[in-house]
């Protein structure tokens, strides 16, 4: 297995997987606790619409993925804030509308473009050095912001109104969280693909949620699980000639069900009954 590390493409893939695993699993803690799971799924599909438009008009794919992702996530946040309609309804509309746009843009392309489908299904083994630089830069930006504002992010995930009443700029932090979710989706788009990216945000955090009663421990566990699944998933994908995105996500899903079965919280409740 060690000789694999001698290959440049494998070094890039493992590094990309580790970065994506870390950033997705850490932002996932706040997404799970703040109840934004569906919003993230909608953002992933919007980002893919951005990628397809970029290929259609000849722009860098990640730039329009960011624009589409941010627009979707901010509209979602605004709708929740104003209470104009139920959040799941507004996201459902945006989710399907952006997916329809993506299909439309794909239809307008005159030729089959395998690179576009790489963003839909994920292809970590084909990550280029330039893409790795972009993933690295965005990961540092997202993780650095979370590190600097973790106490505020935890507080709004726990109770946004109480946070605002205590003097925390809760509204601004909420929009910052949405922005970080959109950036994370873009970071992970090439690695696990638009369809599966949200699993990488949701599953490690949900697995960690089963294991602890502490916010800081949940973040730590989530990061370890996310990293382990991403790196091991890439190695399994290469070893058994499997697609990388599903390998990562199915490994994470297996760990999730294992954690549910062995959850100290659940076992404690059963014991208490």
């Amino acid at each position: 297995m060690l000789e694999l590390l001698a290959y440049d493409f494998m070094q890039r893939s493992l590094l990309a997987a580790a970065l994506v695993g870390s950033v997705c699993s850490v932002i996932g803690v706040f997404v799970v606790l703040r109840g934004l799971a569906f919003a993230g799924a909608g953002t992933a599909h919007a980002a893919f619409a951005g990628v397809t438009l970029a290929y259609l008009v000849g722009l860098p794919p990640l730039s329009l993925a960011i624009v589409f992702g941010l627009a979707t996530v901010w509209i979602t946040g605004w709708v929740e804030e104003k209470g104009r309609m139920k959040l799941d309804v507004s996201i459902g509309i945006l989710y399907t509308a952006t997916m329809a746009l993506a299909i439309l843009f794909l239809g307008l392309m005159k030729t089959y473009n395998p690179e576009v489908y790489g963003y839909l299904f994920g292809s970590v083994l084909s990550v280029t050095s330039e893409e790795l630089m972009t993933i690295g830069g965005l990961s540092i930006a997202v993780l650095g912001t979370i590190l600097l504002l973790s106490k505020e992010l935890y507080f709004i995930a726990f109770d946004q109104e109480m946070a605002a009443a205590s003097g925390v700029p809760a509204r601004q932090i909420f929009y910052l969280l949405l922005t970080l979710v959109a950036l994370t989706v873009v970071i992970a788009l090439k690695t696990v693909g638009a369809i599966l990216v949200f699993a990488m945000i949701l599953i490690p955090a949900s697995t960690a949620y089963q294991l602890t009663h502490s916010l800081t421990q949940m973040t730590l566990y989530s990061m370890l699980i996310g990293n382990f699944c991403a790196v091991t998933g890439v190695l399994l994908s290469y070893a058994f000639d499997l697609p990388s995105g599903p390998s990562i996500v199915l490994l994470a899903t297996s760990l999730f069900f294992l954690a549910v079965c062995c959850s100290p919280k659940r076992l404690h409740r059963i014991h208490a009954q």
């Binding site: 106490k151 505020e152 009443a165 205590s166 009663h213």
Partner: protein, 260 residues
């Protein structure tokens, strides 16, 4: 008279087309313990949100800590400890008691600053004041409703507030827990000389403990000592004609037709 820490001057609150509270004039001096009562929809929570700076008056003025509502910045809000109405707490939310109380320090600390050992000491002290320090490493969701309310009061105290705002703190608690929570609030008022606004439906529980009662019904219906406010003629006007008070010492609100 002590300088008012909260001052409403002909203040009206609401949304376009809806008035939630009208023409409120009320001064609350520092260290006063005020009970706010009134039927559902009378504007109690609006009063609470206004004092927190989450809602500005549409006319008139409100000054809290010598600031107009729109000037109430984050560092002012950090001086107002707030216990919101008891929501449905996710029993599995991964937060320990100490982590939840530490959140009370975050507003005062400001952005980018990490809590220090001193902040942890303040949180521990707040837990001791509510008798919950021995539970500091427990999961918040594993505690009883009464214990959780104590933890949230500790969170508000960890802000080192000048004003404590409690929105129906006894709702959903059993009788013993209700009594213990109100007794704790009274004790904190005596020990820390905090200005307390306690919003409640439970008139009996607070009538002997507060300095002053404020009775709301979209406007300020009455304000004064409990003896002055809790008069049958005043209460029956606010709570409706079909309701009567059957006992002067222990207020029981009954259905008029049933009573007769």
């Amino acid at each position: 008279m002590t300088h008012p820490i909260i001052r409403f001057d002909h203040a009206t609150f609401g949304f376009p087309g809806t008035v939630a509270l009208e023409d409120i004039s009320l001064s609350i001096p520092e260290s006063e313990f005020v009970g706010v009562i009134g039927p559902n929809g009378s504007g109690k929570t609006t009063l609470c949100r206004a004092v927190l700076g989450l809602m500005a008056p549409v006319s008139g003025t409100l000054r809290v800590l010598d600031c107009a509502c729109e000037e109430l910045r984050c560092h002012h809000r950090a001086l107002i400890g707030y216990l919101p109405q008891k929501g449905m707490l996710d029993r599995n939310f991964p937060v320990t008691v100490l982590e939840a109380v530490m959140m009370g320090r975050y507003g005062a600390l400001g952005l980018f600053r990490r809590p220090s050992g001193k902040d942890r000491d303040i949180a521990r002290q707040a837990l001791t004041q509510v008798g919950m320090d021995h539970h500091r490493d427990s999961a918040l969701g594993a505690l009883s409703g009464g214990q959780q309310q104590r933890v949230f009061i500790a969170r508000a105290l960890a802000q080192q507030p000048r004003i404590l705002l409690l929105d129906e703190p006894t709702t959903g608690l059993d009788l013993t827990a209700q009594h213990n929570v109100v007794e704790l609030i009274q004790q904190l008022h005596q020990d820390l000389k905090l200005t307390i606004l306690l919003i409640t439906h439970d008139i009996n529980m607070i009538r002997s403990r507060v300095d002053r009662l404020v009775l709301l019904k979209t406007r300020l219906f009455a304000a004064g000592s409990p003896q002055d406010v809790l008069k049958p003629e005043i209460l029956s006007q606010v709570y409706g004609k079909e309701l009567v008070i059957t006992d002067k010492d222990f207020i029981v609100v009954e259905d008029y037709h049933h009573h007769h």
